[in-house]
Symmetry: C2
Subunit: 198 residues, 2 copies
């Protein structure tokens, strides 16, 4: 990409390395950035560096945050005896957006995947077990309904059950607003098996 000059080429290359950004998007972004007010570009660059510099895992729930304890673990309004186990911070955010959960979280930072060589010791399971030594009533497993998520859910439930703490799994079924004719068989089967009395 010599025809752009070295600075733009370097930017395109750096953007192209990000997930979901191909060469075309990187070009489009680079030309947009080059046309942005200088202040805004500086702000973006600073946001990048400061996020990277200041972020670490919450001491309690292992989510990504910039303080020692994340805002949720710090909150006195949350029910600290109910722990929802999710795979990553984006899943936590998705549940927070519902506004209907007032317990706390535990972020595994991954899921067990024999195919990718990710074992139980590669995710934040030890940290979860440590938290269960405190005063906990229920562990809600909200890993993804994928092969890896299900494997992780089964593994965790086997670990937690002997402690006597209640272990639950979020329901699997037809998504609200979904079209039954377009939903895969496994989901339909799950929806049938999980049917509730009306």
């Amino acid at each position: 990409m010599e025809y752009y000059g070295s600075h733009i080429s370097r930017l395109i290359e750096a953007l192209n390395g990000l997930p979901g950004i191909g060469v075309k998007s990187a070009q489009r972004l680079a030309f947009h950035i080059v046309g942005m007010p200088k202040e805004q570009v500086k702000n973006l660059a600073e946001a990048l560096v400061s996020a990277r510099e200041n972020v670490h895992y919450c001491r309690e729930c292992c989510t990504l945050t910039d303080e020692e304890l994340c805002p949720i673990c710090r909150s006195e309004k949350r029910n600290h005896r109910q722990i929802m186990v999710v795979e990553n911070s984006r899943d936590l955010a998705a549940y927070e957006k519902t506004g209907r959960y007032d317990g706390v979280y535990h972020v595994l930072q991954g899921a067990i995947s024999p195919m990718l060589g990710i074992g139980p010791s590669d995710i934040r399971l030890k940290e979860l077990m440590q938290r269960l030594q405190g005063d906990v009533e229920e562990v809600i497993i909200a890993t993804n309904p994928s092969l890896e998520g299900e494997t992780t859910a089964t593994y965790i439930s086997k670990l937690v059950k002997p402690t006597g703490i209640r272990v639950t799994r979020i329901a699997s079924g037809v998504p609200v607003g979904g079209d039954i004719e377009n939903i895969d068989e496994v989901t339909l089967e799950r929806a049938l098996m999980g049917r509730v009395e009306l």
Copy 2:
């Protein structure tokens, strides 16, 4: 997005302002960036700032570059008597990738669009006309085959013709590898009108 902490939220917001990056992509990118090696994040941040600081329009063809003259205008191997007029630097790059054009370019940095209030004086037309006072044989108009691109092409051809310089327009027709049954009628009509002897 309080649950992320202020540094990550600021990064998500800054990324979300870029074209084609919605909240979900911005979140995904932010979490990826936070997990990247520090060196790489710094490199990306520097690439942003240095591209913005160093970029300006080529004195000759108005493409975005980091020197006074872009590499193509500087090159002695190119035919400086043949000028291809394109809307933006990405279109220039697309033609460069073909490797089949050895003339130079003129980048309009836009197209005439009465709907968006972009008139002839808002694009780099004056600069093109100035270049035509030199030794130029042909102006190839390679604006997009859209309403704006066609309007711009017609406008330019009317400006250039009185100078006696040859004005051509890139061919419009069925794209190579395209499926005739899926191509719109206007393109099919153009392909028919532009048919060539075999």
